[in-house]
């Protein structure tokens, strides 16, 4: 998988992580283009279904990025998000997936560097893990039909 370019979806909260991503941009800090952001008001809004849907549609990695712990604009939305991420990780585990394909991250709005760094690290990790089992499955079934 030399040239594998993973698809990564980052659900970012409006008040912190999304702003941090803007900050990374305004400081021209580079991170891989694999990461694409979907803006949510609060990470507490990110549904298990959204995460699963992203994997189903072909994402190789998903992360949810919210405010620092204790700093959530909505009091505890980010801790609820963290619980939900842990819950979905369990589901992935039951499916035999590597749970590292899903992560929760916390950063403040000023942490452009952190956004860029974590985006790099997460992309690197997903590259090592290879394409998501959904894609592998599709390729396998494709091969089978070819036979």
């Amino acid at each position: 998988m030399e040239n594998f370019e993973p698809e990564i979806i980052a659900f970012c909260c409006h008040y912190c992580a999304y702003t941090a991503a803007d900050m990374a941009g305004s400081k021209r800090l580079s991170y891989p283009t694999n990461v694409k952001i979907i803006r949510v008001p609060c990470t507490g809004k990110v549904d298990a279904l959204h995460i699963m849907s992203a994997f189903e549609k072909g994402a190789d990695g998903v992360y949810v990025a919210g405010c620092l712990e204790g700093d959530c604009h909505f009091k505890n939305g980010n801790t609820r998000a963290a619980q939900r991420v842990a819950h979905v990780q369990k589901i992935l585990q039951d499916l035999g997936w590597d749970t590292q394909r899903l992560a929760m991250m916390n950063m403040s709005a000023g942490m452009g560097e952190v956004f860029a760094r974590t985006a790099c690290e997460f992309t690197e990790k997903i590259k090592q893990l290879g394409p998501s089992p959904v894609k592998q499955m599709n390729t396998d079934s494709y091969r089978q039909t070819q036979r």
Binding site: H14, V40, C42, G58, F74, G77, S108, A109, G110
Partner: protein, 1016 residues
């Protein structure tokens, strides 16, 4: 930015307030005034507003990022209809009187047309020396603005350095360079003026003994903040200036240039530096390495603010920050290692020590700059002996010139919450000199009616902004336009140059009309900064403002992927497709509005409640003032004098008279609150009132809690065992009413922190040190022969109170320190009072027989009252039972429930003047809310589909604000007026019965599909 057309015409009535200084205080005052529909002109001599706070890395006591907290306030400024922001502007003269001033303003040329400038940064890239920013310690600026959230979002040119203006003009793609720009002088008619010039931080390089400016690794507190800041010179990495290595040992030296009488020193205390250094030490350990040794050299640890003592305790126990009570006298540098040696003496050992550190931070305080002294002279306002603006003894925002008010550090050294309080108070006072401007309802600001698009087929227009070359330089515009044009339902796809310029905005508006578009996608910069601008555009074009989607092609694509045009273009395709898929699912949404009840309820009839009630009533607002006791006055009634010597009794009786006789105030004494319901703007509160406890119900739009605190009476130091063992409150009465008793006394002992700053009541009561100094000075003046001993732990005579503390020492009053582990003991035998204590300096036991023992007992929260109110009104409290405000830094008098405010000692211990200021602030905030005929609650609210709801209670438990409830029909209901729009309940609902407007699930799923579609 909205500009008020009428300010250049002097014939308009005096309908404006002039705010001088755009730091956090000035911004707060401006927003409060604009909210209450007063037209405001905010001037600042700098290129962009924000003041000192924007240079800080984090703020105490939450250690949150500063910019994140303040930047919404900065950008909010540019949106207010009633606001005119004038950077690079000074006040030259002010003539006339309150209500009818004429102000002369001088604006320096910026040489950049702010209407055209897109802040792309090209000019700075080519001419870094000419484009201005305020450098501080930064050898580098991320952009040519001082920080990324600069308001206004534009540059400034230093024309003196510019040799070749045509070259600069060629570089600027927005054609914003304006070499003909000249200094402009304008006169404006204003009703009131608010001063919020702030102050400078002391530059210690003039001092000979601290090595500032000489040794690389000696920095000031502010420089240390810049080093740690993400937007600072080292991108937020803590490294030494000399060798770019991470320091292992950092020391802070407090009171550099403050609390001194030597050359270069000022005698007052700057009030904030102790907390600042504690914060810096904690953040150092938190963010960089637990192993970095942090040491603070201090004189008195002055953590007197709300919950600040807990912060200090955490610094000591959880972070292991070392505290040394000493004022170091010699600092030297090792020429090889560039390490810094500090020599200091220890109080308890009479020993000289020397220790080496990698880095030393000098904690410097506030200084009044010469420009402020000059401004005061021009305005004809008085300054105090330290050059801070002199104010009324019972109103800290009223200057010597009627109609001119002051807030923030320009008045006295203070932290951000106190600045915010004063700013709101000053805004409230300033607003009383002019009537509110005509209400421009958000529904009816000249826009044509919205078109009904519900039955129309989708007609999407995609407009891709090149942002100069910021986007177009990396991403192929033609290919993006072509790609977007091929997507389903897209009728128009075109590129626009500088999409946010008025020219392009008109073009987009025109295209919406001619092509009858009903959905719009803008490919450009971040929705965070420009969404409202394009939403307004849609409204002008007759579309609902929620039918637009902004695709962030600049900040999150082009800027982040320089050097990867191919990958970045593919990402742009995906982002555009996600935006188009998302906008197809968008629906017209209604902002939630509620009509406002114009009355106010003030709970508590002490000095705070009465002041707030009077301020509101003077503005024509009907006020219900509820007091549980039979008379007004509260705790302040039992205070005789302030530390400045002002007669509290006279002030209180005048205030009580005014309140009792005011036609707009209904005083409800002997009354208790028994129930509460309703939504912000339409509250209903039930009372039992009068001797018969009759029930009555009040309708009101806002509530101010001024329920006060209780004087503490701990069972300690023999309190109650002897008639001459008294509290400071009782001593105050004794001195004023029975001076002959004081004259007969030979000794007097005071013990500080009696029943506070110890387990059980860990916080500092803030007022006791000043009370002790006040009473000691008065007793000594009455009876010069009396010997007075004050046992203290840290003398917390913050600000100008330091003058009285110094005066007390000069008059021979003895201050003897004790530690929590070695508290004094009191013996009462045969009517004689003896105090035994351990003297730290002599290192032995001492015994003092005394005629009188005064205990500084401070105050505690009125637990019973705050608990009742917290239950009924759903309000949070602190661990020691004071009310907890919405934001400890920026919204100190707002509670988390909209329309509910808190002031005075119900929030935290404070003195009379501080309580009065807070009362004015709460009244101003309340009044700003009442000025609106209705409240806009936004559109992002959650709604339950009752046909899917199983009443499982998950949303009821999940909501961080406890808004959902099960209604009479057995389904969950969410009050749109109370919903904060986080969407936590939506994600948790197992039946998927809840949707959050503007972020509906189908829209999010459509975006996921758009990003990944066709990959499988």
């Amino acid at each position: 930015m909205q500009k008020l057309k009428d300010i250049e015409h002097s014939e308009t009535a005096h309908t404006h307030v002039l705010v001088i200084g755009g730091g956090v205080g000035g911004i707060r005052a401006t927003l409060d005034l604009a909210e209450s529909r007063r037209n405001v002109i905010l001037i600042d001599s700098a290129y962009s507003i924000g003041g000192l706070m924007t240079s800080l890395d984090r703020t105490f006591p939450t250690n949150n990022c500063d910019l994140c907290t303040v930047s919404p306030h900065l950008s909010e400024n540019t949106r207010q209809v009633y606001l005119n922001l004038m950077p690079m502007t000074r006040l030259k003269a002010l003539t006339g009187e309150a209500g009818r001033f004429t102000a002369t303003l001088v604006t320096e040329p910026r040489y950049i047309d702010m209407e055209k400038c897109t802040a792309c940064g090209e000019c700075y890239k080519h001419f870094p020396d000419i484009v201005r920013f305020t450098p501080g310690l930064d050898p580098r600026a991320p952009t040519c603005m001082r920080y990324p959230q600069a308001t206004p979002y534009a540059f400034s040119i230093d024309m003196e350095k510019m040799a070749d203006i045509t070259a600069l003009q060629k570089i600027c793609k927005a054609d914003a360079i304006f070499p003909e720009d000249r200094q402009q002088i304008k006169t404006v008619e204003v009703a009131s003026v608010i001063l919020s010039m702030g102050a400078e931080l002391f530059d210690p390089s003039g001092l000979t003994h601290f090595g500032a400016g000489k040794f690389d690794n000696v920095v000031t507190g502010l420089q240390y903040e810049r080093i740690m800041s993400a937007s600072g010179p080292f991108e937020g990495d803590l490294i030494r200036v000399s060798d770019k290595k991470r320091p292992r040992k950092v020391a802070w030296i407090q009171c550099v240039g403050s609390r001194g009488i030597n050359k270069g020193d000022v005698p007052y205390c700057s009030s904030v530096c102790c907390m600042v250094s504690l914060k810096e030490a904690m953040v150092t350990k938190e963010r960089f390495a637990e192993t970095i040794e942090t040491t603070i050299f201090y004189m008195d640890m002055r953590t007197f603010g709300k919950d600040y003592e807990l912060f200090l305790n955490r610094a000591k126990t959880d972070y292991g920050i070392r505290m040394i009570r000493s004022r170091p006298h010699t600092i030297t540098e090792d020429p090889e290692t560039k390490n810094i040696s500090i020599t200091y003496a220890l109080e308890e050992k009479a020993l000289q020590m020397t220790e080496e550190f990698d880095m030393v931070v000098l904690s410097t305080g506030f200084r009044v700059p010469g420009s402020s002294v000059e401004l005061a002279r021009q305005l004809g306002i008085e300054l105090n002996i330290h050059d801070f603006v002199k104010t009324d003894p019972f109103n800290s925002v009223v200057t010597s010139r009627p109609g001119v008010y002051v807030c923030g550090v320009a008045q006295s050294p203070k932290d951000i919450p106190e600045t915010m309080v004063q700013a709101s108070a000053a805004a409230g006072m300033a607003a009383s000199n002019l009537t509110a401007a005509v209400d421009i309802p958000e529904e009816d600001n000249g826009f044509i009616p919205e078109k009904d698009v519900s039955t129309q087929p989708l007609r999407i227009g995609v407009f891709i902004c090149d942002c100069g070359l910021e986007i177009g330089g990396l991403l192929d515009m033609d290919k993006m336009v072509e790609f977007a044009g091929c997507q389903t339902d897209v009728l128009v796809s075109r590129a626009v140059g500088h999409g946010c310029s008025s020219e392009s905005m008109n073009l987009i508006e025109e295209s919406i009309r001619t092509n009858d578009l009903n959905r719009v996608v803008i490919g450009g910069c971040s929705p965070r900064t420009h969404e409202t601008k394009f939403q307004d555009l849609l409204r002008r074009a007759g579309l609902n403002k929620y039918l637009v989607e902004i695709v962030n092609l600049r900040d999150q694509d082009a800027w982040a992927h320089l050097g990867h045009p191919k990958e970045a273009l593919n990402k742009a395709f995906q982002l555009l497709r996600a935006g188009i898929c998302g906008v197809r699912k968008s629906r017209p949404l209604m902002d939630q509005f509620l009509p406002m009840n114009p009355n106010a309820l003030v709970v508590g009839g002490g000095v705070t409640g009465m002041t707030a009630a009077l301020q509101l009533a003077d503005q024509g607002i009907k006020v219900y003032l509820v007091e549980k006791n039979s008379t007004l006055g509260g705790l302040a009634k039992s205070i005789r004098r302030t530390i400045e010597g002002e007669d509290v009794g006279v002030f209180m009786s005048r205030l009580t008279d005014q309140v009792s006789t005011h036609k707009n105030i209904m005083v409800l004494a002997n009354s208790i609150i028994v129930d509460h319901s309703g939504v912000p703007g339409r509250f209903k509160t039930g009372l039992q009132t009068g001797p018969r406890m009759n029930y009555m119900q009040i309708d009101h739009g806002v509530t101010i809690f001024a329920t006060g605190a209780l004087p503490n009476r701990p069972d300690a130091y023999g309190l109650g065992l002897h008639e001459n063992i008294v509290t400071q409150l009782e001593l105050d009465v004794l001195i004023e009413d029975y001076p002959e008793k004081i004259k007969k006394m030979t000794q007097m002992v005071m013990i500080q922190c009696a029943g506070s700053r110890e387990p059980g009541n860990p916080n500092c009561s803030r007022v006791c040190c000043q009370a002790a100094v006040k009473n000691a000075l008065r007793a000594k003046t009455l009876n010069p022969d009396i010997e007075i001993y004050v046992f203290y732990r840290d003398m917390r005579t913050y600000g100008f109170q330091e003058d009285y503390y110094r005066q007390a020492r000069n008059m021979g009053i003895q201050f003897i320190r004790f530690s929590l582990e070695n508290k004094p003991e009191v013996w009462v035998e045969n009517d004689r009072i003896s105090v035994f204590a351990h003297d730290i300096i002599l290192d032995r036991k001492i015994q003092i027989e005394t005629s009188c023992l005064a205990l500084s007992t401070g105050m505690t929260a009125d637990d019973e009252t705050t608990e009742d109110m917290a239950m009924m009104f759903h309000l949070p409290r602190t661990s020691d039972h004071f009310f907890l405000e919405d934001h400890v830094k920026l919204r100190p008098v707002d509670m988390s429930v909209r329309g509910i405010f808190v002031a005075g000692t119900a929030r935290s211990p404070k003195n009379i003047q501080e309580s009065i200021t807070e009362a004015h602030a709460a009244a101003c905030r309340a009044q700003a809310l009442l000025a609106k005929k209705e409240i806009n609650l936004g559109a992002a609210v959650a709604k339950v589909d009752s046909s899917k709801c199983a009443a499982c209670l998950i949303c009821v438990r999940a909501c961080p604000f406890s808004i959902p409830f099960i209604n009479e029909d057995g389904y969950s209901q969410i009050d749109p007026a109370k919903c904060q729009g986080c969407g936590v309940c939506v994600a948790d609902c197992p039946a998927k019965a809840i949707q959050l407007f503007a972020y509906e699930d189908d829209q999010i799923l459509a975006k996921i599909e758009g990003l990944l579609g066709g990959l499988n």
